[in-house]
């Protein structure tokens, strides 16, 4: 980091926090602290929802995902617009009219206290684990740049976030998100322009797109259906819709955002706008990853992007195993560069035959590059590195710090840190809300003053911040962070969705039926996770269906037993 980077980084962060605190002043009642006094306009909620999702994990991990696996991850978001339409027509008016602080509060109105308590505990477990991963992402940034230990970095960021979240409440979080979203979009645009500008002079944008496509990096849609394939059109539309229904309909960190709306219409508009903007935004981020791939065709790409591990496997005692892999890798990337330039030349000469021949050799070289990278990862894992080592999360940051000019590096790091702070602050705020409203106020202290609950909310915020920091190391062994977050979510979301579907659409289902159904749904999801190879996107469908089926069956059985016998 150069002095200009530090100026941009510190300036951006200070302005974000100062602006957020300025907008959040007056959050001195529980209603204002947790629901912003129901005063938010649709655009602020929409940008806040998007900024929460577009966290540091999105920025760091999605680009790396595209570099390694291509753009097919975009299909994951295809179900979101469908989910947003369903939620706008059902959950948004129901929650608003029920005048609740949390989604789970509604479950007691509809079913009973035990169903509300169980749903709250499931949310607290799931979101508590995810918020740890949110903290871990920026720790990677600073470990790559400064070599700081992950745990220390996480602790420093965690303490900062807790102070800032405790002070401002949800109004601060929302307005900070708005500002961050604009910075994120600006940062992304600058990064893409810089990548394209740094390509060799003879390689046009269209050439770059062709090279990425030829290497299989632009596979945005795949129709092939496979239960075990994480990303195809069908898993995206069906599994993705169920995940989005669960996330936006049952996860308090999102429900709380649109509960701050000044009217039902404003909340609906915020969700629908998010639905329309999310797919193009993810496409754009993945496209940046694909262009980073093209950039590294013409620049020396490290075999392993995590510098510390790469240096470790190059030590003298490792050379016997490292050297043959490195030699194959160097040979493959040299051939890939030669053939890429041959493709570009043939395209410019309008020579399809030469282009096809070069394309064949280019793809062969790419396969050799992938094989050597995989062997390098296995070497890292086999010689004391992380089990199942993957460097997906380091690819984009490695590029940023090595190639982008002074000022831009600071901007990108500021975007990543600020996005993390805001995303995690929203998650911590929702965890605190559920802890206080659904657990503490409901079961331990029913009739205290507003001031007491405000203090309890702030205390709960501090507790969940500490919890998140403690669990942040969990992300280390989960490969791509963006996938890790979604896998953890999918272990719990499906059953939560199922119980809300029962609440909204099945009038005859009882509290006991919903409670047992929720337990059965969780059991089914964990069975699928532990004993089958089914892709995680389907867990949401499985959990939801099992909860509905079990809830209806138990309700039917218990009602029949309760009916008096007549002879």
């Amino acid at each position: 980091m150069r002095p200009l980077d530090w100026v941009v980084l510190v300036g951006s962060l200070v302005s974000i926090i100062a602006y957020g605190l300025y907008r959040g002043r007056g959050s001195n009642t529980v209603d204002r602290y947790l629901l912003a006094g129901k005063s938010m306009p649709w655009y602020a909620m929409a940008l806040s929802i998007m900024a929460t999702q577009a966290s540091a994990i999105t920025f760091i991990s999605t680009t790396g995902q595209s570099y390694v696996d291509g753009m097919r991850f975009v299909q994951f978001y295809f179900g979101m617009p469908l989910a947003m339409v369903v939620l706008s027509a059902t959950a948004v008016p129901i929650f608003h009219r029920a005048k609740v602080y949390t989604a789970y509060e509604y479950l007691e109105n509809r079913f009973d206290a035990k169903t509300r308590a169980l749903a709250s505990v499931i949310f607290l477990m799931q979101r508590g684990l995810s918020v740890g991963l949110t903290f871990y992402a920026p720790a990677i940034v600073l470990s790559v740049i400064f070599g700081w230990p992950d745990r220390l970095t996480t602790l420093i960021i965690g303490v900062t976030v807790v102070i800032y979240t405790v002070t401002g409440g949800i109004r601060t979080i929302t307005w900070t998100d708005v500002q961050q979203m604009l910075i994120i979009l600006f940062g992304l645009l600058v990064a893409l322009v810089m990548i394209l500008w740094m390509l060799p002079r003879q390689v046009s944008i269209l050439d770059a797109i062709h090279l990425a496509g030829a290497a299989g990096k632009l596979n945005a849609v795949t129709f092939h259906f496979d239960w075990n394939d994480r990303y195809n059109l069908w898993s995206g539309l069906i599994g993705g819709m169920f995940l989005a229904l669960s996330y936006f309909g049952c996860d308090q960190s999102q429900v709380q955002r649109y509960l701050t709306g000044k009217s039902i219409a404003q909340s609906k508009l915020s969700l629908l706008f998010t639905a329309m903007a999310k797919i193009p935004m993810q496409f754009f981020i993945l496209f940046i990853g694909a262009m980073v791939f093209v950039f590294y065709i013409f620049e020396p790409a490290p075999m392993v992007f995590q510098r510390a591990e790469y240096e470790r496997i190059q030590r003298p005692e490792m050379r016997a195993r490292y050297d043959p892999i490195a030699a194959r890798y160097q040979d493959a990337i040299a051939r890939r560069k030669t053939e890429a330039l041959a493709i570009v030349e043939a395209r410019h000469a309008h020579d399809p035959r030469a282009e096809n021949e070069a394309m064949f050799r280019y793809r062969s070289a790419q396969r050799d590059v992938d094989t050597a990278r995989l062997e390098g990862a296995h070497l890292v894992a086999a010689t004391g590195g992380e089990k199942g080592f993957r460097d997906t999360n380091y690819i984009f940051l490695s590029f940023v710090t090595r190639y982008l000019p002074a000022g831009i590096v600071g901007l990108v790091i500021a975007v990543i840190l600020a996005a993390t702070m805001s995303s995690s602050s929203g998650e911590i705020n929702s965890l605190a809300t559920v802890s206080v409203v659904d657990i503490y106020k409901r079961h331990f202290r029913k009739d205290a003053s507003d001031r007491h609950y405000l203090a309890a909310s702030r205390l709960a915020t501090a507790f969940w911040g500490a919890y998140a920091v403690a669990f942040s190391g969990f992300g280390k062994n989960l490969g791509s962070l963006i996938e890790a977050v979604n896998i953890v979510g999918s272990l719990f979301y499906g059953s939560l969705l199922g119980v809300f579907v029962l609440a909204f659409f099945f009038k005859r289902v009882t509290g006991t039926g919903a409670f047992v159904g929720l337990l059965a749904g969780e059991a089914a999801i964990f069975a699928a996770f532990l004993f089958t190879g089914i892709s995680f996107l389907w867990y949401n469908v499985i959990g939801c269906v099992v909860v509905i089926a079990a809830g209806m069956a138990v309700s039917y059985a218990t009602r029949r037993r309760a009916l008096p016998l007549t002879i």
Binding site: D31, L35, G37, K38, V74, Q75, F78, P81, L82, M84, V85, S88, A89, P93, H96, R97, K99, V100, Y101, E105, I209, H210, A212, G213, A214, G216, L218, N219, A220, V221, T222, L233, S263, I264, A265, K268, L269, L272, A275, M276, I279, P280, F283
Partner: protein
């Protein structure tokens, strides 16, 4: 519960007149995006 002062209004959307039309527009937009992604995949793979 939040205070009753926050009585919720379900206003019509600011465009297209009725909410079902807005929902239909979002679904049509999704279909267009998928079609564009498919064309993109076919064109460059």
């Amino acid at each position: 519960m939040p205070p009753d002062a926050h009585e919720m209004r379900d206003e019509p959307p600011p465009f297209l007149g009725r909410w079902p039309r807005v929902y239909a527009a979002v679904i049509i937009y999704l279909g267009l995006l998928i079609a564009l992604c498919y064309i993109f995949t076919r064109a460059f793979s």
